[in-house]
C-alpha cells in the first residue's frame, strides 16, 4: 500500500506539472517562454518515470537488465566519447554530462530491449534504435530546453545535429553489443537456487449470473493490472443468461441462444469450471463440484464469492410443481413457448368449447416486472400468429394476470402501474388483484377466493427463494452479509446478488435486480482484492438508476432517476438500454437482427424440442 501511495503521489505530481504546463502554454499564446512547454513535457516524463520505477520495484530481473544496460551505456559512452573528446567534438555541456547521458541511454536500452538483448543482432539493432530516439529526445529537445531555448526541431543547425546523430548511432550500437556481452556473461555464471514461489491466493466464484460474471470480469481487470490471484468461476451453465430478455424468448420474438453470452468468451485471466456445486465445506475451505464426466471434484479456496441467485418457489401449493411454468432459464422460456404454440395447435382442432377455452386461456401468476412483461409478450405472440390458426377466433384467447397486491408493478409509482394496467386491459388482459393462485390442475387454475379458471397454461413469476446451496450457511433464508459483502460469521466467504441480503444505507436490503447484482459483483471483487493485498475494503453503496418495463408491442413504462416515461419512448428506451447492456457485440447484433426481422415478419411458430422439466432447480447462476 505504501508503494501505491508513492505511485499515486508521483502520478499526481506529474499530472499537476502537465496541467501547469498546459495552463502556461494557453497564457503564453505567442509561445515565447519555454517554461510552459518544459513543465508539460516534464510532467509526462515524471509520470513515465514513476511508472517505470513502480514496475522495476517488483521485477528484479528487469531491474538487473536496467543496471547492466546502464553499465553498457557507460562503457559505450567512454569509447565513443573518447573519440569525440580526442577530436574536439565533445563541446557543451561537457564530458560528465555526456557520460551521464550515455548511462541513461544504456539504462533505457536495458529497460526497453533488455529481454531481447539475449540475441546479439537484436541487441545491436535495438541499441541503434535507442540511439536514434535518444538523438531526437536529447539532442533536439532537452538540450535546447536546458539551455533556456524553445526546441523547434528545425534543421537550422543541421551540421551540429548531424555530428550528434553519428555519435548517438555509434553509442547505441556499441551499448547494444556490450549489453549482449554482459548478459551472456551473466547467463554463464552459476545460478543460485531459485527462490520458492508462494502459492497464489485462490478465489472461487460460484454462479454464472450477473453477480458472478461481474465479479469475475472485475477480477480479470485487476489481474491485468497486477493482482496476483488464481481465480476460478464455477457455474452449471456456461453462458450468462440475459434475463431481462427471457420473456422475448418465451414469446418467440428472440432466439434462445441470442440472449445467452458464453462465459468463457468474456473472461481472460479467470479460469472457468462447468459443473454443479453440491456442497461447500467452509471449515476445510473446499467447494465440492460435480462435473458432467469427471464426477466429483473438490476446489480449494481462500476466498469464496457466492452469487448463486434464487430459485422459483411454489409455496408447496398443490399441483404447481407439476403444472406451472416458471421463467428462470432458457429451458423454461423455450418450454413455455412450445406449450403456448402447442395449445394453439390443439385448439385449432378441438371442437369442444370447454376444452378450447382451457387451451386458449393463459394465466400468469405475479404482477411484478417479470409477470407483467410476460403477459404482454404472450398476448403479442398469440394475437400475432392467430391468422395461422383459422379455426381460432380472435375473441377466444384469454389472458389473466393474478397478483396478490392491490396493483401491478408495485416497484413503480402508482401512476405508472395504473398506466400499464390500463394499456394491457385495453388489449384484453384480465387482472385478478388481491388474490393468489391456490392450486393448479391439468385443465384449471384455482384462485384463493375459490374462483376456478379453466386453463392449461399457468406461468409462474410469483415467488422465489434463495438457492438451496446457501441454506446450510444461512439457516434457510438469504445470507446475511455486512456492508462489505462478507457473510456474517464465516471467514473467507462473500455473497452477492439474490442470495444475499445486503443492507443499504437505510438498513433495508438492496432489491434483487440485475443492475444491483452487477455493481455488487464489482464491489466484491474490489474487496476480495483488497483482502489479498492487505488493502482496505469499501462498503457497497449504490443508488438504483431506474426501472424499465416493456409492455409488449411498442409500449412500455419507465422511471429513470425520478423521471417518468410512458408509451413508445419508454419502449424504445427499454430496447436501447437492454441492447446496450447485452454482453458482446455478436449478441447485440443477433438480437438487433431478431428485432428487425420481427418488424417485417410474423413470429416463428415452428415447434422445437422442449428441454425436459428440470429434476431439480438450477442451483447456480440465475438471478
Amino acid at each position: 500500500m505504501k508503494g501505491r501511495r508513492w505511485r499515486l503521489a508521483g502520478y499526481g505530481m506529474g499530472g499537476a506539472l502537465v496541467a501547469a504546463g498546459l495552463g502556461g502554454l494557453l497564457v503564453d499564446a505567442r509561445l515565447t517562454d519555454p517554461l510552459g512547454w518544459a513543465l508539460w513535457s516534464g510532467g509526462l516524463i515524471a509520470v513515465a518515470a514513476v511508472m517505470v520505477a513502480a514496475r522495476l520495484r517488483t521485477r528484479p530481473a528487469e531491474r538487473a537488465r536496467v543496471l547492466y544496460g546502464a553499465g553498457a551505456g557507460l562503457a559505450g559512452g567512454l569509447l565513443v566519447g573518447s573519440v569525440q573528446a580526442y577530436h574536439g567534438m565533445l563541446g557543451h555541456p561537457g564530458p560528465a554530462a555526456f557520460a551521464a547521458h550515455a548511462v541513461l541511454l544504456g539504462a533505457v536500452l536495458g529497460f526497453v530491449a533488455g529481454e531481447r538483448a539475449e540475441d546479439l543482432a537484436t541487441a545491436f539493432s535495438c541499441g541503434i534504435l535507442t540511439g536514434l530516439l535518444d538523438w531526437a529526445v536529447w539532442q533536439l529537445t532537452l538540450r535546447p530546453l536546458l539551455a533556456g531555448r524553445l526546441p523547434t526541431w528545425a534543421l537550422a543547425s543541421a551540421d551540429e545535429q548531424f555530428g550528434a546523430l553519428v555519435g548517438d548511432v555509434l553509442l547505441g550500437g556499441t551499448a547494444g553489443v556490450l549489453l549482449y556481452c554482459a548478459l551472456a556473461l551473466r547467463r554463464r555464471a552459476p545460478a543460485g537456487p531459485a527462490p520458492a514461489q508462494a502459492p497464489l491466493p485462490r478465489v472461487v466464484i460460484v454462479g454464472g449470473g450477473f453477480g458472478g460474471v461481474g465479479t469475475a470480469r472485475r477480477l480479470d481487470r485487476l489481474a491485468a493490472r497486477g493482482l496476483r490471484a488464481d481465480v476460478t468461476l464455477i457455474s452449471d451453465t456456461n453462458a450468462l443468461l440475459f434475463t431481462p430478455m427471457l420473456a422475448g424468448v418465451a414469446s418467440s420474438a428472440l432466439e434462445p441462444r441470442h440472449v445467452s453470452a458464453p462465459v468463457r468468451a468474456a473472461l481472460t485471466h479467470t479460469s472457468f469450471l462447468h459443473g454443479h456445486v453440491d456442497r461447500i465445506d467452509t471449515a476445510g475451505r473446499l467447494v465440492h463440484v460435480t462435473t458432467a464426466d469427471e464426477g466429483m471434484a473438490s476446489v480449494r479456496y481462500d476466498h469464496l464469492v457466492l452469487a448463486v441467485g434464487s430459485v422459483p418457489y411454489f409455496f408447496d401449493l398443490p399441483g404447481l410443481a407439476e403444472h406451472a411454468f416458471p421463467l428462470k432459464t432458457v429451458g423454461d422460456a423455450t418450454r413455455l413457448r412450445n406449450h403456448v404454440l402447442g395449445a394453439l395447435e390443439r385448439a385449432d382442432l378441438e371442437p369442444a368449447a370447454r376444452t378450447r377455452a382451457e387451451f386458449l386461456t393463459f394465466v400468469v401468476a405475479g404482477g411484478g416486472f417479470a409477470g407483467t412483461e410476460l403477459v404482454a409478450e404472450l398476448s403479442d405472440l398469440v394475437y400475432g400468429v392467430l391468422r395461422h390458426y383459422p379455426n381460432v377466433r380472435e375473441s377466444e384467447p384469454r389472458f389473466v394476470l393474478v397478483h396478490t397486491g392491490e396493483r401491478i408493478l408495485p416497484e413503480l409509482p402508482a401512476e405508472l402501474g395504473a398506466y400499464a394496467q390500463e394499456r394491457l386491459a385495453r388489449r384484453g388482459v384480465e387482472f385478478r388483484l388481491n388474490v393468489a393462485v391456490a392450486e393448479a390442475r391439468a385443465g384449471a387454475v384455482r384462485l384463493g377466493d375459490g374462483t376456478v379458471i379453466p386453463a392449461r397454461t399457468l406461468a409462474w413469476t410469483a415467488g422465489n427463494r434463495p438457492h438451496p446451496l446457501t441454506a446450510a450457511l444461512s439457516g434457510g433464508g438469504r445470507l446475511t452479509v455486512d456492508p462489505f459483502l462478507r457473510v456474517d460469521g464465516v471467514e473467507g466467504v462473500w455473497a452477492i446478488g439474490d442470495c444475499a441480503g445486503i443492507p443499504g444505507p437505510d438498513g433495508r436490503p438492496y432489491p434483487p435486480t440485475a443492475q444491483h447484482a452487477l455493481r455488487e459483483g464489482r464491489a466484491v471483487a474490489g474487496n476480495v482484492a483488497a483482502a489479498i493485498t492487505g488493502g482496505r475494503p469499501a462498503e457497497f453503496r449504490f443508488r438504483g438508476i431506474g426501472v424499465l418495463v416493456a409492455l409488449g408491442h411498442r409500449t412500455g413504462v419507465a422511471e429513470i432517476r425520478g423521471r417518468r416515461v410512458t408509451g413508445l419512448p419508454a419502449w424504445l428506451l427499454w430496447r436501447g438500454v437492454y441492447l446496450a447492456k447485452l454482453p458482446g457485440w455478436e449478441k447485440k447484433l443477433r438480437v438487433l437482427a431478431d428485432w428487425t426481422i420481427d418488424l417485417v415478419f410474423s413470429r416463428d411458430i415452428a415447434l422445437t424440442p422442449s428441454p425436459p422439466r428440470a429434476a431439480r432447480h438450477p442451483e447456480a447462476g440465475h438471478e
Binding site: 546479439l120 526546441p151 534543421l155 546523430l165
Partner: protein
Amino acid sequence: MSEMGIADRARRGAVPGAVAGLAGGVVFGGVMAEIGFLPTVAAIVRTDVIPLAFAVHMLFAAIIGAGFGLLVVHQRARVEELLFWGLVYGMLWWFLGPLTLLPILLGRPVAWDLAGGRELLPSLIGHLVYGAVTAAAFAWLRRPAGSRPRIRPAAPVRGLAAGALTAAVLVFGLGVMTGVPPYRLFVYGVVLGLGYPLLFGDRPEGTGPALIRGVAYGFAWWILVALTFPTLLTTGTLDWSLEGVRNAVPELPGLVLLGAGTAAGTTWLAAAGQALFEDDIRRLHRVSFGPGRLRAAGYGLAGGLAGGVVFALVLAPSGLLPTVARLAGGRTALTGLWVHLVIAMAVGVSYGVFFRNRSFDLASGLGWGVCYGFLWWILGGLTLAPVLLGGAPLWTAAGLTASFPVLVGHLAYGAVLGAVCGRLEQRVSPWWLTRGQAEQERRTALREQTLGSAPALWTFVLLIALTVPLLIAR
C-alpha cells in the same frame, strides 16, 4: 536461445559471413571504382595502386562480412529476413567506416560534420548495397540443405494486382491533387508488385508489419529506379551525389507509399483468397493470444489520444496548431488541438487493428509505432495535409527539410501510440493459460519475432527517416 560455442559460431557465422562479405565487396568495389573512391582506400596502405586498393577493400569486405555472419548467426537464414539486417549493418558501417575509422587510419581528424557526410553520400548508398548483397549471399550459403524457394503461381499475380491497384490510387490521387498524374507510377507499381512476393514470398503476416516492410521495400526501389537507373542508363555512370539525391527526392514519397500499399495489398489479397478458398478451418482461425479487433481498436484509440497529446508538444512550440485548425476551417490553436487529437485517435485506431498481437514488449511497441509514425508523416504530413490546406504535396528536398519538426512529432506520436497499445495488449491473456504459460507464450512469440527481421526493419526505417532529411537539408 541455443548457446553456441566460439568455434561453432565461427564455422556457422564468421566463415560464411566472410565469403558473403567478399560477394558484397565485389559489387561495392565496382561501385567504388565508379564513384572514384578506391584511391581513398589505397591511401590507407599508403599506395596509389588501384588493384592493391581493391585487394585491401576486399580484405575489409571479408572482415566486415565475417562480423555480419557473427551478428546474425542466430537469425533465420532467409533472404527476406536477412536483407534488412544487411541494410542496417551496411548503414552502421557507413557511420563507423568512412565517417570515423577512415579519417583515423588516414591520420586526419574525425569531424562528423554534415559537409563530410554529404560528400560521402555515394558511399552511404554503396554501403547499403554491400549490406544487401552480403546478406543475400550469407542467406544463400546458410540455406538449409535441400530447401527450395516455394512460390505459388498465385503469389506474383496477387503482388501484381496489389501493385497496379496501389499505383492506380496514387496516380488518380496525385492527378487530382497536382493536376499532373504521374503515370510512370503504373510501371513502378507493376515492377514492385511482381518483385514483392518473389522477394518476400507468401508471408502469413498482418497488415501492419507488411506496411512497414513495404516502406523499406519502396525505399530500396527508390535507390534503384530514381537514383541509379536514370543516370546509369543514360550516361553509364552512377550519380549518387548530393545533388543527384536531392533531384531524386520527389520520387521518394511516392515510391515509399507505393511499396507500403503494394505490401499491404498483397497481404489483403492473400487473406481474401484464403477466406474464400481455404477449406481447412484451422488455417483460417489461428489461435490468437491477444485482444480481438474491436478491443484492439479501442486500445488504438487510447494510444492515439496519448500519442496525440505528446505530438501536440511538438506542434505547439512550432506554432503549427493554427495551421492544423485550418483543416477543419478553424483558426485558433485550440481548434487545431481538437482537430489534431481527432486525427491522432483515428490513426491510432488503424494502428490498433493493423498491429494487433504484434507487440510483445516495449521494444516492439516502440519499433512498430515509430515506423507507423514515419509512414503517416509521408502520407499525412507531406501529402494529404498540404493538399487539404490548398497547396501541393511537399515532395521536394526543401519540403522534407521544412517538414522535419512534423516528422519528429510523428515519430514521438508513433512511439507513444505503440508503447501504450503494446502495454494494453499485454494485459489480455487467455484464461486457459496460467500466468506461467501465458508468459511462456509471450516469450515464444517474442523469440519468433526476434529471429525474423522485425528489429532490423524498425531500425532501418528510423535510420532512413532521420538521416535522409538531415543529409539533404539545404
